[in-house]
């Protein structure tokens, strides 16, 4: 395979450095709006759908996408776009199930949902799985960044007389340091605005490359005619080759990946949670999936398609043997002029950094919310006031961001030996997403799903997944749809099908057998000492059985028996030890009780009467707390009552809600067009004196 170094000129490097400095300054400017952990992680729940849509572009497209889809575009053609066009199937579940639940239940992280819906032990396991997922994702991001930058760097450089080789890992470490600095001092508002800028530039750079490439080849017809038929087809061959086939990618990406992306990507969820309302979040998701993702598919894959066309027309310019992960850089350097190449590479690498930044920020949110806060509570830490608590958490968040960056670099080691980033990412998704995805899904849509169900799905599901990974020829083969097993990396994609079926099977089994387990557990509870001893023995057997599977002792049949023991004993143990009140645990936390969720969010009955938007100017009233006071006429126009929730924002739409607040309607007054609010609300809303504001009833 042909690899490259020293691509690009000094002009390109100058353009790249200027670009990076501009982006850092842009991010730092908006970083000043980070005042507390809510701003640091969620941007204060204030933004408009269009701003979030554009900022998602850089998150969804930035990471690994340019490199991995160009690679597959070069190897297989337009079917590289498959993964960008198969996310719609689970949108109803997301828009009307998961999104309103996470917003209205005010959870700050996915594990927190697990505690509210199930139990602290479910939260603990979810935290472990989610951290593995997020850190692995960061690792993939760093790996891609390294692979994108390496072709531009020399093979080695001399420093103080010593020759230093530029290896993939060394490049990644330097990139990680730059990324860590930015996220540590920026926060979510900075990330959102930087991503907004980069989302636009990214789309522009991708299309610029496409049009230059088409012109280089002599027009669209010439390009299209050069592609072999199989390269023109939008879907891959059904089940071959093992490294890129439709059915495997369907299960890995359209099912596990899409649900994983929408339901458990904390970074993406935090973007939706930064929207000013659930409906704005829905708009952002719909526009992003329907229009932005198809455009992004062209943006990220076209270098590979162009590379294939050039390699057919002039194989001496681009060899068919070019390393697929380097094709983006190679094509960009051939078809663009110096300076433009630097701009395209800067857009790519900066967007990659954005994705990694978002993930690091999201993982820090999980660490603060699901590790630091429970630990602080456990050790009885006290704070003078909320401000001190918030300052401390912000401090922890920043240090955690640095630690996560380091772990992300370490995670690269697990993926760097895959032939392409695409396969590394596919394998990663197939393996890590199913247990959490199944648990979230069943928790949201199945009221009868209990802590026993979710914990057994985690433990029993993982046990079966480990066995699948160890004995793929026996356990995954029945699900393979005729895909040939590659002994080096067996069933990279279709394993997602097996893993999903295993986790769903475990969850359904435990839930269906719930009444039997409940009866058994109450019998044991009535036996006092005897029952307690039996449960202790069951716990020891279940733990040993899990260890047997984890370390792979003995034959497959022995390990399967142990998996059976885990799946049958864990629910009994959970029913016995974990208290669970179904009514309390499901109220407002499943799709069946969204109205309750809204009521709980608001704290009183919902007022769904549709009102108008009114224009007002603010005036300070030091006496007020969280309430803000409108005139009776303005409240009538908004169809609002005292105690309803209101959203006030600067009238300038292009700000996208940056200057805005959520508040509660207080007692009305008689001055139309005036709203009275406290200093703290004015500061939190970043309102400028004398500017016209808009107010609308939230609910």
């Amino acid at each position: 395979m042909e690899t490259f170094h020293n691509i690009g000129t000094s002009t390109d490097w100058i353009v790249m450095i200027i670009y990076f400095m501009a982006v850092m300054l842009f991010g730092s400017y908006f970083g000043r709006y980070t005042k507390n952990t809510s701003d640091f992680f969620f941007g204060g729940r204030r933004f408009s759908w269009w701003l979030i849509t554009m900022s998602i572009v850089a998150t969804g497209v930035g990471s690994h996408s340019f490199v991995k889809y160009s690679a597959k575009g070069f190897e297989h053609g337009i079917s590289s776009s498959m993964t960008y066009l198969n996310d719609w199937f689970f949108v109803p579940f997301f828009m009307f199930g998961w999104l309103p639940i996470i917003v209205y239940s005010k959870v700050r992280s996915i594990p927190e949902y697990f505690e509210k819906r199930f139990s602290p032990s479910a939260r603990f396991l979810a935290t472990i799985l989610l951290l593995l997922y997020m850190i692995g994702y960061i690792g993939i991001g760093f790996l891609t960044l390294g692979k994108a930058v390496i072709p531009m760097l020399p093979e080695a450089f001399t420093m103080m007389g010593a020759v230093v080789d530029i290896t993939l890992m060394r490049a990644i470490i330097v990139i990680a340091i730059i990324t860590g600095i930015y996220i540590t001092f920026g926060g979510q508002t900075a990330v959102i605005f930087t991503d907004l800028l980069q989302g636009v530039i990214l789309l522009f750079a991708g299309f610029l490359l496409f049009f230059i490439g088409i012109s280089y080849l002599g027009g669209f017809s010439a390009f299209w005619d050069l592609l072999p038929t199989t390269w023109k087809l939008p879907l891959a061959d059904f089940n071959q080759p093992s490294s890129f086939n439709f059915v495997g990618i369907f299960w890995q990406d359209a099912v596990a990946g899409s649900i994983g992306f929408l339901f458990m990507n904390q970074g993406l969820l935090m973007r939706f949670m930064a929207c000013k309302s659930v409906n704005e979040g829905r708009k952002a998701a719909a526009i992003n999936i329907m229009f932005v993702l198809p455009l992004s598919a062209v943006v990220v894959g076209n270098a590979g398609w162009l590379g294939k066309a050039i390699s057919v027309a002039t194989p001496d310019i681009i060899s068919p043997k070019t390393s697929p992960d380097e094709i983006f850089v190679v094509v960009a350097s051939i078809i663009t002029s110096p300076g433009v190449f630097g701009f395209v590479m800067a857009a790519l690498t900066a967007a990659l950094m954005s994705t990694v930044d978002t993930l690091i920020n999201a993982t820090a949110a999980i660490c603060v919310n699901d590790i630091y806060r429970p630990l602080a509570k456990f050790f009885g830490s006290t704070f003078k006031n909320e401000e001190e608590k918030d300052r401390k958490e912000l401090y922890v968040a920043r240090w955690v961001s640095i630690a996560i960056t380091i772990l992300g670099v370490v995670a690269v080691l697990a993926f760097k030996n895959f032939p392409t980033v695409y396969e590394a990412h596919g394998y990663f998704h197939s393996t890590l997403t199913p247990p959490l995805v199944v648990a979230i899904f069943m928790g949201v849509f199945w009221k009868r799903f209990t802590p026993a169900g979710v914990i057994t799905t985690f433990l029993g599901g993982v046990a079966l997944m480990i066995l699948g990974a160890r004995f793929p020829g026996i356990l995954i083969a029945p699900f393979d749809h005729g895909i040939e097993m590659n002994a080096a990396r067996p069933y990279s994609y279709i394993r997602a099908f097996y893993n999903t079926v295993a986790c769903v099977g475990v969850g359904v089994f435990v839930t269906m057998a719930g009444s039997l387990y409940a009866k058994l557990s109450s019998q044991f509870k009535n036996e006092d000492y005897n029952g307690s001893a039996k449960m202790m023995i069951s716990s020891v057997i279940a733990s040993l059985a899990f260890l047997v599977i984890l370390f792979g002792f003995q034959s497959i049949s022995f390990q399967l028996v142990n998996a059976f023991l885990v799946i049958t004993l864990v629910p009994l143990i959970i029913y016995y030890y974990v208290p669970y009140d179904e009514v309390k645990a499901t109220e407002g936390l499943t799709a069946l009780s969204l109205e309750s969720a809204k009521r709980m969010f608001k704290g009183s009955d919902i007022n769904d009467t549709e009102g108008q938007i009114v224009e007002i100017q603010y005036q300070l009233d030091e006496e007020l707390g969280k309430d803000i006071r409108f005139s009776q006429n303005d409240m009538d126009k908004m169809a609002a009552n005292v105690g309803d929730l209101v959203y006030v924002s600067d009238r300038r739409k292009w700000l996208g809600g940056l200057k805005s607040i959520h508040a509660v309607y207080g007692e009305p007054h008689a001055e139309d067009g005036i709203v009275y609010m406290s200093q703290s609300n004015i500061e939190s809303g970043l309102f400028d004196e004398g500017r016209i504001l808009e107010a609308e009833k939230e609910m």
Binding site: I78, N86, F89, P92, K232, N239, F246, A591, L592
Partner: protein
């Protein structure tokens, strides 16, 4: 050359199995009242959901047709 396994077979699998996931989702959110058809903006969202499904079916169908032409 027969491109069936590279074109219409994956297409049917994608929108056949995909339909099961998609329509069960729509049914579930409708049945649980999470998507409340009494609300005008929820009715609009229901239309958007179906349009979205049709949109992706059309995009893949047209691209496949053009590639095989």
């Amino acid at each position: 050359m027969d491109y069936f396994s590279h074109s219409w077979l994956p297409y049917m699998y994608l929108y056949g199995l995909g339909a099961i996931f998609f329509f069960s989702g729509v049914y579930l959110v409708w049945k649980t009242n999470a998507l409340d058809m009494r609300k005008p903006h929820h009715r609009r969202w229901m239309t958007v959901l179906f349009l979205g499904y049709g949109w992706f079916m059309a995009v893949h169908g047209i691209l496949t047709f053009l590639a095989l032409r």
